[in-house]
C-alpha cells in the first residue's frame, strides 16, 4: 500500500489523517494459532487412536477418551480456530477501515486473556472438571472469563469501527459483526448455571430444555464461530490473494441476511427423534433444508471470485488452500441439510457419519482456510518471502489426502453401523443383537481415520516449520508504517447506492438489525420451553435422584461417558428391541445437565438400569473386555480407588433444590446417611459375589447406583416388548 492513497471522492489533500496498523498483535495471534493448531490436531490424532485401540487410553484418568475428546473439540474450535479468527479479523479490519485497532491495551488483554482461558481449559478438562455440554464444557469461573474477554474483543472491534476512515463497511465486516453479537448471546444463555463449588455447577435448565438450549448453542457455535467469521475472512483474503473483484455484491447482501436469519433456527436438527416436542424438531428440519441455498451463496461468491484465475489456483499454494476450503464449505453445507432430513438423520445420527461431516467442515473448510490465510498474511506482515512453496504444496496434499481418508472412512463406518443397528429379520428379531458386533465391524475404519489424522497433523507441522523459517528470514523492524487518508467526516454516505448501501454507512443500525435477525428464531424456539410449564408434561412416577445417585451421576459427567454413550432411546422399532421403551420427555426433568449424548460408540444407556447385576457393572468398569470381548471402552480402575466424597452431597442437593428439584430439608439433612445406606445395600450384593467389603465407600459404588437407576422410573427395561 502506498503512502498517499486517497479515495477519489476526496479532493482536499491537506486534510489527510495519519495512522498505522497494530500488526504486532496480529503476529501474536498468528503464533498462537500455530502452536494451538499443533496441540488440537495432536489431541485429535490421540483420541482417534484411542477408538482404534482402547490401549491408547493408557489407564490414566486424565488421558481417557471421555476427558480428552472435550479437550480436543475445545482446542480445535476455541484455541486453534479462535486465534486464527482473531488474527485474520484484526489484520483485515484495520485495512478495511483504514484505522488502527481501537486500543493497544484492550488488544493485549484480549490476547493474553484468551490464552489464559485455553491454558485453564487444558488443565481443567483432563481433570474431569466439566459441565458436559458439548463445546461449552468449561466450568463457570472460566465461562465468566470467556464472556469478559469476548466482550473486550467486542468493544475493541466496535470502537475500531467507530473510528474508521472508510464510510461504508465491507461485507467481511458484516460477517464479523454477526459473529461477535451472536457468539456473545449464545455463550451466555447456554452457560447459565449455579455453582456448587469453585469447580462444579449445575445447569439452570434441565432435561429437554437443557438439550434444546445446548443444541441451539452447539449448532450455532458451528454457524457463528466456524462459519460466519470464516465467510468474512473469505471475503477479505480471497479477492486480495487472487487480485480480482468479488463476484456479486447483490449475492453478498442476500446470502448474508438469509444465512444469519435461517441458521439460528436449525439447532433442533441435532435432536431429531428425541423426546423434544415434535413441532420444534419440525422447525429445525425445515429451516436446515432452507439453509442450503444461503450457505451456497457464500460458496458461489468465493469460487466465482476465483474465476478467470484457475491456472493460478493450480500453481499458488495460497489460492489452492482457499479454493479447496471454499469447496469443502460447499460440500459440508450440502451434506448438513441432507443429514437434517428426518429419515436420513434416523440412520446417520449417533454414528460416525456425523463425525465425518463435522470434519469436512473443520478440516476441509476451517483448516484449509486458515492455511491459505496464514500463507498470505505471514510474508506480508513480516515483509519477506515464503520459505518454501514445495513444503506448502506438501502440506496441501497431505491435508487433502488425510481428510479424504477421514471422510470416506467415516461414511463407511457410519452407514455400516447405522444399518447394522436397525437390521431386523423376518421373525422380528435384531440381526445384530450384540452391540459390540457393530463396533468390532468398524474398527478397521477407525485405523484408516487415525492414519488420515496423522497425515493432516504432519502437513500442519510442515506449515509451522515453513512459516517459522519464513519469519526467521525477515528483517527485524521496529518502526510501524504510516499511512494517510481522509477523515470519515470528509466521506459522505453513498447516495447513489440503494438502501443497503446506506445501511453500510451506519454500522450501529446494521448491528442492531443483525441482532434482531438472530433473535427471532432464538425466541420462537427457546421461549416456549423456558416459559411454559406445559412444554413438558410431568409424570408423578419420575422421582429425583437419591443422594448416592447424584454422586454417581456427577462421576458419569466427570468421566465424559456421554462422549460414547447416549441416553435417549428413539421411537424406532430397532431401538425398542435393543434398548427398551422409547424415552419420554418427563423422564429427564431432574437431569441437570442432560446426558443425551451425540454419538453411540457404545450402546444407549437410558434403559440400562436393572438390565444387569451390580456385579456385571463392577466387572465391566474394571475391565470391559472381561465381560464383553471386543469392547473398546476404556478401563476405569481409578473409580475402584478413589473414595466417594459424601461431604459434598448436601450442598449439591441444596443447589438442585434451589433450581427446582423437590428435595425436602429432611432429605438434605439426612442425605449423607441415606447415601451410605444405599452404598451398603449395593455392597451387600457385591459381597455375595465375592467383592471385598472395603470397597463400600469407593466411587464405583455410586456409579453403579446411578447406572441401575437409569430409565427405571417409568417401567424401564421390563417393558421391552410391551410398548404399544
Amino acid at each position: 500500500m502506498s503512502q498517499n492513497e486517497t479515495p477519489e471522492s476526496v479532493q482536499n489533500e491537506q486534510k489527510l489523517e495519519q495512522f498505522s496498523y497494530d500488526d504486532k498483535s496480529v503476529k501474536l495471534f498468528i503464533h498462537a494459532t500455530l502452536i494451538w493448531g499443533v496441540v488440537a490436531l495432536l489431541l485429535g490424532v490421540t483420541i482417534a487412536f484411542q477408538l482404534a485401540s482402547w490401549k491408547f487410553n493408557f489407564e490414566l484418568p486424565w488421558l481417557t477418551f471421555g476427558r480428552l475428546r472435550p479437550l480436543h473439540t475445545n482446542a480445535a474450535i476455541f484455541a486453534f480456530v479462535g486465534n486464527a479468527i482473531f488474527a485474520g479479523v484484526y489484520y483485515s479490519i484495520q485495512r478495511l477501515l483504514k484505522t488502527r485497532l481501537y486500543s493497544d491495551i484492550l488488544t493485549k488483554i484480549h490476547f493474553w486473556g484468551w490464552q489464559l482461558i485455553i491454558v485453564l481449559a487444558a488443565v481443567t478438562l483432563p481433570l474431569g472438571i466439566t459441565t458436559s455440554k458439548e463445546y461449552a464444557e468449561l466450568e463457570w469461573p472460566i465461562d465468566i472469563l470467556v464472556a469478559v474477554i469476548w466482550v473486550i474483543f467486542g468493544i475493541n472491534f466496535f470502537m475500531t469501527l467507530k473510528r474508521r476512515r472508510e464510510r461504508h463497511i465491507y461485507v467481511a465486516i458484516w460477517f464479523y459483526i454477526a459473529t461477535i453479537i451472536t457468539v456473545a448471546v449464545l455463550y451466555v444463555v447456554n452457560n447459565l448455571e449455579i455453582p456448587v463449588s469453585l469447580m462444579k455447577s449445575y445447569s439452570v435448565y434441565a432435561g429437554v430444555q437443557d438439550a434444546l438450549v445446548q443444541w441451539w448453542y452447539g449448532h450455532n457455535a458451528v454457524a457463528f464461530f466456524l462459519t460466519t467469521p470464516f465467510l468474512g475472512l473469505m471475503y477479505y483474503f480471497v479477492p486480495k490473494a487472487v487480485n480480482r473483484p468479488v463476484y456479486s455484491y447483490r449475492l453478498s447482501i442476500i446470502h448474508f441476511w438469509s444465512l444469519i436469519f435461517v441458521y439460528i433456527w436449525a439447532g433442533p436438527h441435532h435432536l431429531l427423534y428425541t423426546s423434544l416436542p415434535e413441532w420444534v424438531q419440525t422447525l429445525g428440519m425445515a429451516f436446515s433444508v432452507a439453509l442450503w441455498a444461503p450457505s451456497w451463496g457464500g460458496m458461489i461468491n468465493g469460487l466465482l471470485t476465483l474465476r478467470g484465475a484457475w491456472d493460478r489456483v493450480r500453481r499458488e499454494p495460497i489460492l489452492k488452500f482457499l479454493a479447496t476450503g471454499v469447496t469443502f464449505y460447499g460440500m459440508a453445507t450440502f451434506e448438513g441439510p441432507l443429514l437434517s432430513i428426518k429419515s436420513v438423520n434416523g440412520l446417520a445420527h449417533y454414528t460416525d457419519w456425523i463425525v465425518g461431516h463435522v470434519h469436512s467442515g473443520t478440516i476441509g473448510w476451517n483448516y484449509m482456510m486458515v492455511a491459505g490465510i496464514l500463507y498470505y498474511m505471514v510474508p506480508k506482515i513480516w515483509k519477506t518471502e515464503l520459505f518454501s512453496t514445495k513444503l506448502a504444496n506438501f502440506q496441501f496434499w497431505t491435508a487433502t489426502i488425510g481428510l479424504l481418508m477421514y471422510i470416506v472412512s467415516m461414511w463407511v463406518a457410519g452407514i455400516t453401523q447405522g444399518l447394522m443397528w436397525r437390521a431386523v429379520d423376518e421373525t422380528g428379531k435384531l440381526v445384530y443383537p450384540n452391540f459390540v458386533e457393530t463396533v468390532v465391524k468398524i474398527v478397521p475404519m477407525y485405523w484408516v481415520r487415525a492414519f488420515g489424522g496423522v497425515l493432516i497433523l504432519a502437513g500442519f507441522i510442515a506449515m509451522v516449520y515453513n512459516l517459522y523459517k519464513t519469519i526467521q528470514s525477515a528483517k527485524v523492524e521496529e518502526k510501524e508504517d504510516v499511512f494517510a487518508t481522509a477523515p470519515l467526516s470528509a466521506q459522505p454516505i453513498d447516495s447513489h447506492g440503494g438502501s443497503h448501501r446506506k445501511l453500510e454507512g451506519l454500522p450501529l443500525v446494521f448491528s442492531v438489525l443483525a441482532f434482531l435477525a438472530i433473535l427471532v428464531g432464538s425466541m420462537i424456539e427457546l421461549m416456549p420451553s423456558i416459559m411454559s410449564n406445559k412444554f413438558i408434561v410431568k409424570d408423578a412416577r419420575v422421582k429425583p435422584y437419591t443422594p448416592l445417585e447424584i454422586v454417581g451421576r456427577d462421576i458419569y459427567v466427570r468421566e465424559g461417558c456421554y462422549t460414547c454413550h447416549s441416553q435417549m432411546v428413539r421411537p424406532m422399532v430397532d431401538e425398542t428391541l435393543r434398548y427398551g421403551k422409547r424415552s419420554e420427555a418427563a423422564e429427564f426433568v431432574y437431569d441437570r445437565p442432560f446426558q443425551w449424548g451425540s454419538r453411540r460408540i457404545g450402546p444407549d444407556l437410558h434403559r440400562v438400569g436393572g438390565k444387569y447385576s451390580h456385579m456385571w457393572h463392577y466387572r465391566h468398569m474394571l475391565d470391559p473386555r472381561k465381560v464383553t470381548p471386543g469392547s473398546l471402552m476404556p478401563v476405569y480402575t481409578w473409580l475402584f480407588k478413589s473414595k466417594i466424597k459424601y461431604g459434598s452431597i448436601p450442598k449439591k442437593m441444596q443447589v438442585l433444590k434451589a433450581l427446582g428439584t423437590p428435595y425436602s430439608e429432611d432429605e438434605i439433612n439426612n442425605s449423607i446417611r441415606n447415601a451410605e445406606e444405599q452404598a451398603l445395600t449395593i455392597m451387600a450384593e457385591l459381597e455375595r459375589d465375592g467383592v471385598d467389603s472395603k470397597m463400600r465407600n469407593k466411587e464405583i459404588i455410586a456409579l453403579i447406583a446411578y447406572l441401575q437407576r437409569l430409565g427405571t422410573d417409568m417401567g424401564g427395561s421390563d417393558e421391552v416388548t410391551s410398548a404399544e
Binding site: 500500500m1 502506498s2 492513497e5 479515495p7 483485515s92 478495511l96 472508510e166 461504508h168 465491507y170 486480495k240 487480485n243 480480482r244 473483484p245 468479488v246 463476484y247 456479486s248 455484491y249 447483490r250 449475492l251 453478498s252 438469509s258 427423534y273 415434535e278 413441532w279 424438531q281 419440525t282 422447525l283 425445515a286 433444508v289 432452507a290 439453509l291 441455498a293 451463496g297 458461489i300 466465482l304 478467470g308 431386523v424 423376518e426 421373525t427 422380528g428 428379531k429 443383537p433 450384540n434 421411537p571 422399532v573 425398542t576 428391541l577 422409547r582 436393572g610 438390565k611 444387569y612 447385576s613 456385579m615 456385571w616 465381560v627 470381548p629 421391552v720 416388548t721 410398548a723 404399544e724
Partner: protein, 199 residues
C-alpha cells in the same frame, strides 16, 4: 495498491467493466453480477419446501413420529407374537432332529461364546452367572432340554439373566441348550454351587 488495481484492470473484459461497482476497500472491488438463476431456484425451493413441511406436519395433521412408530411397532409385534408362539413351545422331535445335524456342535459353541460366555465363563464354570457344570440349579426343576429351553427364553432379568427368547432364533436357542446339556455335570471348578441339587 495502485499497482494491484492496474493489474486487475488488465484481466477485466467489457462485461466485467460494466458490472464493476465503485466500491474499493483496501483495493478490493466488487462486481454486481446478477444472482445465478439456479441458485435463486434452490433458494425459493428451500423456502417453499420449509413452509409446506411445517404446515403439513405442524398444522395439517401430518403423521407424527410417534404415529409412525406405533404403526411400525404394531407390525413387528404381530410378527414377534407369532414367532414366540412357534418358539415358545419346545418341540422335542425338532430339537432331537437339530442336534444330530453335523454342524450342531460347532454352532452350539459359537452361540455360547457369543452370548453366554461373558457371564458364565469358559466351559460354564460360572462368574456373574452360576456355574452350569455342577448339579446345583437355582431356576430349574429338572435339568433337561425342555426346562433349560423354557428358562433361557424368559431368563430371570431381575437376577441378571437376560431373556434370550427376544434375541435368539429357535435354532440358536437349540444350540444354547445343546451346549448347556453338554457341560452338565462336568463339574468344572469355578464359581461355588448355588441352588438345589437336581439330578
Amino acid at each position: 495498491m495502485s499497482n494491484e488495481n492496474k493489474s486487475k484492470n488488465i484481466i477485466m473484459n467489457e462485461e466485467e467493466q460494466s458490472l464493476l461497482l465503485n466500491h474499493d476497500y483496501d483495493g478490493i472491488e466488487e462486481f454486481d453480477y446478477p444472482l445465478p438463476s439456479w441458485w435463486v431456484g434452490t433458494f425459493i425451493g428451500g423456502v417453499v419446501f420449509a413452509a409446506f413441511y411445517i404446515l403439513y406436519y405442524s398444522f395439517a395433521g401430518g403423521p407424527s413420529l410417534q404415529d409412525e412408530y406405533n404403526h411400525k411397532m404394531a407390525e413387528v409385534n404381530k410378527v414377534r407374537e407369532e414367532q414366540s408362539k412357534l418358539v415358545g413351545k419346545f418341540q422335542p422331535d425338532q430339537y432331537q432332529a437339530w442336534i444330530v445335524n453335523k454342524d450342531a456342535d460347532e454352532k452350539a459353541l459359537e452361540v455360547y461364546e457369543e452370548n453366554c460366555l461373558s457371564c458364565h465363563e469358559e466351559k460354564g464354570k460360572g462368574d456373574i452367572g452360576p456355574n452350569l457344570t455342577d448339579k446345583y440349579w437355582k431356576n430349574l426343576k429338572k435339568a433337561d432340554a425342555e426346562e433349560i429351553y423354557q428358562f433361557i427364553i424368559v431368563g430371570n432379568e431381575d437376577a441378571g439373566m437376560p431373556a434370550w427368547g427376544d434375541v435368539l432364533s429357535k435354532e440358536e436357542l437349540f444350540a444354547a441348550v445343546k451346549y448347556v446339556i453338554s457341560i452338565k455335570n462336568t463339574n468344572v471348578p469355578g464359581k461355588e454351587a448355588e441352588g438345589e441339587v437336581i439330578e
